[in-house]
């Protein structure tokens, strides 16, 4: 038996393959022969940012309909081919992109690529399938209305990002999803789907050069001369002038959900790492950081109470969420606000920073355990211009962050007296 490959080194320029197909699609690939499987993931810029307000949910509808029928295959034959060999492929969308991901045993990888190409290039949006999907989407929307954390988050985004595309839910509303026509679907697909801006990552038991040849064969010939590029950066969201409270009443529920917070940096902002490490200390590290300690461990108020930093291509959000008994809602909000005040007043301790830095550095290989984990890491490199040596520079980047950086960043973004506080529950 051949000696198994040891992937002890982090991905870097020596083993990440990057190439552009003849139509501009960017491929990133890395071989892993430890397991006879392959993961493919990627994205193209055809997200909900292109939707008009009265057609919210269109990008989502289009992406979930891609595998419901193509020029050469019916919905049933697509899934029959995939599922017969234990492979999977799926699409979804967010504000900026349509994303896809799939995996198969290595012997079925050509099939996976063919189906990917088919779904992206020649969907037919069959009428019957569209109506089936529409009913599914409407059911999801009515379930969303019954979900306390979804409803709290929905209102939070609407208020925090007022006037910005991030204020809109990518799954739309019942009336907008009802109004989407088959013509809308075809139009959206023909205008925004194309090779420009598309990125694919392939990780697994295939030589990268071979992956490039295979991909060129199935998708290199895709040309869409009129493909509409993404809009220039949207205007910055308005700063919050005073604390805004919003409550969505759901009398049938037993627990209330709470989302409170403010704007955060984008992934490309220079203070991203200071914010990320600061956030980890605030509401992630150990048992959900300082917030978890105050709300769960010391007060027993909630099963979960944590903070998150959502930083992508555009402006981010920095938010704390928790699920609490309705009687404890105000107390939980006060405790969280108190932690935020302490955070922006005193920052973090040297010990907190050091242990979070070692956490970030130590957990990196864990996030790269599976092929799909590595594929996601390669896509991040491309999406945020991190450089092929990013994961090898990662330790230095993390270690560079100082307590002063975190304090400055916390003060720049968080004003505990100016927050959006959104709650949903009884």
């Amino acid at each position: 038996m051949a000696k198994r490959q040891r992937l002890h080194s982090l991905p870097g320029p020596e083993d990440i393959f990057r190439a552009a197909l003849s139509n501009g699609v960017v491929l990133l690939a890395r071989a892993n022969f430890n397991s006879p499987s392959v993961s493919v993931s990627g994205y193209l810029p055809a997200g909900s940012i292109f939707e008009s307000d009265d057609k919210l949910g269109l990008a989502d509808f289009v992406s979930s309909c891609l595998m419901r029928g193509t020029r050469t295959r019916s919905f049933d034959s697509i899934y029959n081919e995939l599922e017969s060999v234990g492979a999977s492929l799926g699409f979804d969308s967010n504000v900026h992109n349509v994303n896809f991901g799939g995996r198969s045993l290595v012997e079925d990888f050509p099939l996976l690529l063919t189906l990917l190409s088919d779904a992206l290039r020649t969907p037919t949006f069959p009428k019957k399938e569209m109506e089936t999907l529409r009913t599914h989407m409407l059911t999801s929307l009515s379930l969303r209305e019954q979900n306390t954390s979804d409803m709290a988050a929905l209102a939070f985004d609407r208020i925090l990002f007022e006037g910005h595309p991030y204020s809109r839910p990518t799954d739309g509303y019942i009336e907008t999803v009802r109004s989407i026509t088959r013509k809308d679907m075809f139009e959206f697909h023909s205008r925004y789907f194309g090779p420009k801006g598309m990125v694919v990552a392939v990780v697994g038991a295939v030589e990268p050069q071979k992956a490039a040849e295979m991909l060129e064969k199935v998708i290199g010939g895709w040309r869409v001369p009129g493909q509409v590029p993404p809009p220039a950066a949207a205007p910055s969201p308005k700063p919050i002038r005073k604390t805004v409270r919003h409550h969505h009443s759901m009398p049938d529920k037993f627990q209330s959900d709470l989302v409170m917070g403010t704007l955060g940096p984008s992934r490309k902002d220079p203070e991203y790492f200071a914010a990320s490490l600061g956030n980890s200390i605030l509401g992630q590290f150990g048992m959900m950081g300082r917030i978890g300690d105050a709300v769960r461990e010391k007060s027993g108020l909630a099963y979960y109470a944590s903070s998150s930093l959502n930083s992508g291509a555009g402006p981010g959000s920095w938010e704390v969420s928790a699920g609490v008994n309705p009687a404890n809602l105000e107390r939980a909000i006060e405790l969280i606000q108190k932690e935020l005040r302490r955070f922006v007043k005193n920052g973090v301790t040297a010990e907190e920073l050091a242990e979070n830095q070692t956490n970030y550095i130590g957990r990196l290989p864990l996030s790269l355990e599976s092929n799909s984990g590595v594929a996601g890491a390669l896509l991040n490199i491309e999406r945020f211009d991190l450089g092929l040596d990013y994961y090898q520079r990662y330790e230095a980047i993390v270690r560079e962050v100082t307590r002063a950086d975190i304090l400055e960043t916390a003060r720049k973004y968080i004003d505990p007296e100016r927050l959006v506080i959104s709650t949903a529950g009884p």
Partner: protein, 420 residues
């Protein structure tokens, strides 16, 4: 299975399973205790899960504050969970930091403090966890189906426990439960990753060996009597969506019918871990607009448990129509054995899911130990071989034997004020 699994029993009765996997600089360890919600008598429901929470509250050597951060500081991932048959604690760590995981687990097997103040604050945390679940219609329905399916067997109650018991359980109840079940002879440690077995085993002996053996705790056994006819009920709640759950009796994981039933499940409801759009139920119910979603699900258990089919009803159909369409699909598998091709496909799907799982060291360590909790490690290593042995006639036979309306429960979640 390509990799060799080392199995050793320590002198104090603790079982150790080791699997070297030098594909990434990571080690994952899972410590399993043979105790779960099925060991809880009425009045103490939820005590196993609560005990699991208490093991995060610290020992003298690793006080809560330290414990909380020790694994995370080194970049490790850790958590715990309680199920019907078992409780587990896991850590996945960078290989060079792994020793800490062993130190911590050996220490908290014996030395957890169960401080009264921690018990008090955890009581409200767990009640909050339960209330969060109660917000979900599907949790309410699943819990009610279980209570209807089991009158005697403790599989009757949810792992989280009933609120009445969560309000009543005391610190001493918890501590006694801990002392009784957390003994090395009631534990299995499964470790996979980038290590050499010999020094790893020595280190495990060094840390766990001195923990004294205790009386082996008996499992709570109250066999469920045979069900005499179909049970149906409706619960009401908020929203607009109707959920239907049909539960059939399923044998234990070690029963010879388990594997034919796995193939049956794969053909009827789809293979777990993959999309299920060509499963028979999806085609018959979702494609034909009887349901918005459908899923079939069973879990391997020590005692006979349930196979559940869960549906979101299509808004334009009546509950009865949906159940009839489901029955018609099951009847097809009872009337005729499935084509050989469908069996082959199910086996290939299972093989693919296995391969994907083996990309990942955490999942390799998980499966070895998990299988020990309801069968043995060999159950996992021979799983694919046993699936391949199933014949179409086996599938037809188990379809007839296990999927009769007279031994099922059908529960419906009905939005208040709306007609069925």
């Amino acid at each position: 299975m390509e990799e060799k699994i080392t199995q050793v029993k320590l002198k104090n009765g603790m079982k150790v399973l080791l699997k070297e996997a030098h594909t990434a600089p990571i080690i994952s360890s899972w410590l399993w205790y043979r105790v779960g919600s099925r060991d809880e008598p009425t009045g103490k429901t939820g005590i196993s899960h609560w005990t699991e929470h208490m093991l995060f509250k610290g020992t003298k050597k690793f006080p809560a504050k330290v414990l909380d951060k020790a694994i995370s500081r080194d970049g490790g991932r850790w958590n715990a969970a309680t199920s019907r048959d078992a409780t587990h604690y896991y850590e996945t760590m960078p290989a060079d930091k792994f020793d800490l995981a062993l130190q911590l687990e050996a220490d908290r097997m014996k030395n957890s403090a169960f401080d009264a103040r921690d018990v008090a604050s955890e009581r409200t945390v767990i009640i909050s966890e339960r209330e969060g679940s109660e917000n979900e219609p599907l949790f309410q329905l699943t819990e009610a189906v279980q209570q209807t399916a089991f009158r005697v067997h403790p599989y009757r109650h949810e792992v989280i426990g009933d609120k009445a018991d969560l309000l009543a359980i005391t610190r001493d109840d918890l501590y006694e439960h801990y002392r009784r079940y957390y003994v090395p002879n009631n534990a299995v440690l499964s470790v996979a990753g980038d290590f050499d077995s010999k020094p790893m085993l020595n280190r495990i002996r060094e840390l766990f060996g001195p923990i004294p053996k205790g009386p082996t705790p008996p499992r709570l056994t109250r066999p469920e009597p045979e069900q005499k006819g179909e049970a149906r009920f409706t619960i009401e709640g908020g929203g607009e969506t109707v959920f239907i759950q049909a539960a059939y009796r399923y044998p234990s994981a070690t029963h010879p019918d388990f594997f034919p039933l796995q193939i049956f499940d794969s053909i009827l409801g789809g293979t777990s871990g993959l999309s299920i759009k060509t499963s028979r139920l999806y085609r018959a119910l979702v494609d034909k607009n009887y349901a918005i979603e459908v899923s079939g699900w069973a879990e391997p258990t020590i005692d006979p448990y349930l196979y559940r089919i869960t549906l979101i009803k299509h808004p334009r159909r009546a509950v009865e129509e949906v159940v009839a369409a489901m029955d018609a699909e099951i009847k097809k598998l009872q009337d005729a054995p499935p084509p050989e091709d469908e069996l082959k496909r199910a086996v290939k799907q299972a093989r693919a899911v296995f391969v994907y799982g083996n990309e990942n060291i955490t999942s390799q360590a998980f499966w070895m130990g998990y299988a020990e909790m309801f069968a043995s490690c060999a159950w996992y290593t021979t799983y694919l071989d046993n699936l391949a042995k199933v014949t179409p006639q086996d599938v037809q036979r188990v379809a007839r034997q296990y999927f009769q309306p007279s031994s099922r429960v059908i529960g419906v979640y009905q939005p208040k004020g709306r007609e069925a």
